[in-house]
Subunit: 212 residues, 6 copies
């Protein structure tokens, strides 16, 4: 038994001397720090608690009383600092009847989706312009390779939901319509680079708050 | 209009000359090929269809009529070849009342979990031996940093479920009890390297089919 | 001097015993082999010559007598096997007067461009929908972060050219118009997921050879 | 000869203009800075000396007069800032007769071991629960894949030693017994998640300073 | 139309809540911050403008009136903060008639070169000491695998130029002659470790400002 | 007890269904297969035994009866297939009195060295041409950042030895003298690109078997 006490002491000593090294088990984001190419600086491990690793913001769906009748609720590093440096993150999709998550990309991550309610028609398009399109039932899983244009549409008459996960703590989200129409990119330039008609461009710029 | 026809031809020519390059949009696993450090060889893109990117095996929970009253259903690259090379995968956890996913690690990935039914008590232990323990409600998300020991226990009187995602297409799964007791590692050596009593070791070896 | 002879022998012996290890200096693609998540299998080093590391296909610009009055000539791994595994590749842009490289993304790479003739107006849009737009002169360099929508337009009255480099041997290329209009994605679904008018969609599907 | 002087000037000019770029040859850790997912911020290169790249702390073995009769002396980034960002680190193992490095994992690194004195029985267990076990002689090398449970036991009647290297500057170290028994994880929960008997758990919690 | 207004509002809300997450589209270097293993901290996105992504320093060649009759003008992260974290950078080579970029390595990057004027003889040597040597014409591309010794020599009677790109924002540059002769490494040690004659060493040390 | 039997069955079923996924615990090289950018294809796990993870080739030093009076014995992936894909490897250095490991680089890895006998003077040179030089005693550790020129010299009157580890399974090895003098690179070109005198070049080409 006295021997055991020594064991106890030994380990205490060992751990105290190597305590710095164990920091890199995880790196909860200090969102006040400047981020870098690999993510945010780490919160001091002494201040980390289990609440840093738990996120309750996906328990409820976002508000779908908008024109797309849909909502995306992110749990990226900016909302959920515990994923910093771990190479993954999540989001929740909610689609009211008729709801649509319009064409978008995640510049820095692949995505995997699992339907938790209703039916969702999802699709992505490859560099070769091939369409991969499927209507998913509850429990079905679909994967969207990194950086490719994709969308999700409610295929049920009821509210549909899904959880999506990403291969990055900060996958990014570029919604096509906003990239094209919700800024000051001159309409003529949009026309030149998309072959869309000017009237179409101006109409959507009007809707999405773009100028030019 | 004839101009448009030229545009059409131009793009066709462009795409045929660069068709090889577009392969790396994705790399659906050819599971018959020998795998390598980065995953399996790619199935020929000509044979890839949307079904390669869709997996229905998580729609139903696994059979929980076993002693742990729980089941893990994986959608790793071996079950879902579409995730090959994309740096993510999924699994489904089902826990009957009293069910337990015992202590385990994923040697090659971090994990993010979202509860879809019931309540789950989950925890992980850091290198500094600190315990991060929480009882999660439906919709709660928890993250488990790479390689650390963790577990999940049903905290509800009903069946509980969760989806988990990983930061690798092949996260691995090392269940502690199986690593220690379900093989031919000599009992004396298990004792020396775990400080467990020999009787305890032999009892669990008996249960789990280990020898020696 | 006899000593030197021994040195000579020593190194020969040393190198023959370690000849396998030196393979990974480079990994020229064997394009006949199945590719994998990290690229193509390596051509046998014994068969590699300097011509595997040299590519002459960018010396001339592509044919710009098409409706976009522009051409992209790639030197990706499919055209230039020497870049396999090295994390970079190139392409050449040629824009006749009025020429346009329409909105596109590279799902797997950042891009850096240098103007070699004329003037080019280039822009990209961030996830926050901010436009970064500049007219570049000969010798100017611009960088386009990974996966973001961008375009290039000739801003000169003469033929303009540029070399672009990528942070991947296989950056991919997704041209927005082709993703939306050059395949069998049903027009109604395109409308739902882009907010474009059906007439606009059908017009561009007609031009680009899309159906549905 | 005056020409040479110009060469000299040329290079001086060249180097001063690119001096910042050369920083990333190495990134000696500034341990006072907040670390991030990729490691610590870099010490100013102007203050870096050769002593930052040299570590003498492994010259002597750790104290083995403890119950495991063994010691692990780390040269991780926390002890040896010069390895920051270089993707490797070292440690020294010392095992008195009867000494044991108990079951543990390195969550973020593979390990390679070379015996420098005595004999060491080492083993690791795969996800498939297969045991890979060998008694190593002086000069023998063994590799332990990332994240898997492994151990080392003195197999000689004399003091045995080894050097181990890791594929990370911060490999982490999770000792199984400490993860299970040296914290406040409730005994009942340990029992549920390990199938160990409560008496066994309480005994080891007593020894290792755990509570609950 | 009121519906559209709601759409507008929806997106505004969505984007403001996820604004942090979009930071990682890019990470323009704040060169005042301490760099880390993955690069510099990010400039606040609010202060980023298109000028951070544009670099005009390569429009003119460097001064070649020096003994090597050549100049290297870098656009690495230290000169061009916009490439921080994007895994690429550029430089411009200028070689007057007779100009030479002497043997050098980039410790952290592969390189791809395109000739824009004149003719350049370029070569690299593999670990197996095989030479890969070619005289490149305008428009020819050559790739130099990471870390290998290589050089470029003007093969034309006119000024020759090239653009080179790297697979890192901070590729490093180690010029062989400077590593050996432009510092205080004792001449005897240089002789021992290069087999060069002492007179040769002292001569070049004299030229390049080395001591010892 | 019958319950335990069910547990046993459960785990067997679970593991057989996920057996493919566990392959990626490790990827022992099948050296007959074509290698790729990430390493060699994996040997079938069914044929893997502990001997794949153990290497005895470093137990004895290499033959130092040669002009450099030194030997490098590698345990890279080509000699030790078990390290494939694990991001590390080893080698052994032996230096007889007067022995020298001449200037060299590892294009793809950082190196960490520990002296096991005698004294070794080791040094590396940074991109800024600064020399980091130290005479190491038994047990001292030194790290050499990726891709930089470095050397080791016996500083004792007795045989000295060291173990070195690398941050890659295939670090490569480019010995400066061999790159310059042991091939058919024309002497005039060597002179142009190194500033060495022709007589010096021809002398070393003669010694090392170079031509031209």
């Amino acid at each position: 038994m006295p021997q055991y006490y020594i064991l106890f002491l030994f380990f205490l000593i060992f751990f105290s001397s190597s305590s710095h090294a164990s920091v890199q088990d995880f790196c909860v984001a200090d969102l006040k720090g400047p981020d870098g190419p690999a993510g945010y600086p780490c919160k001091s491990p002494a201040n980390v608690t289990v609440s840093d690793f738990v996120f309750s913001g996906l328990a409820k769906g976002g508000n779908t009383t908008n024109i797309i009748q849909a909502a995306v609720t992110p749990a990226f590093v900016a909302q959920f600092p515990g994923v910093n440096g771990l190479g993954l993150s999540m989001a929740r999709l909610d689609l009211a009847p008729g709801g649509v998550i319009p064409f978008h990309t995640h510049p820095g991550a692949s995505e995997i989706l699992v339907v938790t309610r209703g039916h969702i028609t999802a699709g992505f398009v490859s560099s070769a312009s091939t369409v991969y399109l499927e209507t998913l039932k509850k429990g079905d899983v679909m994967v969207f390779p990194q950086g490719l244009l994709h969308f999700q549409v409610n295929a049920a008459k009821i509210h549909s939901s899904a959880f999506v996960s990403f291969s990055s703590a900060s996958p990014g989200l570029q919604i096509l319509d906003f990239a094209l129409f919700a800024n000051n990119l001159p309409s003529a330039l949009v026309g030149q680079t998309t072959f869309l008609d000017l009237a179409q461009i101006k109409k959507l710029k009007g809707v999405l708050g773009g100028t030019g």
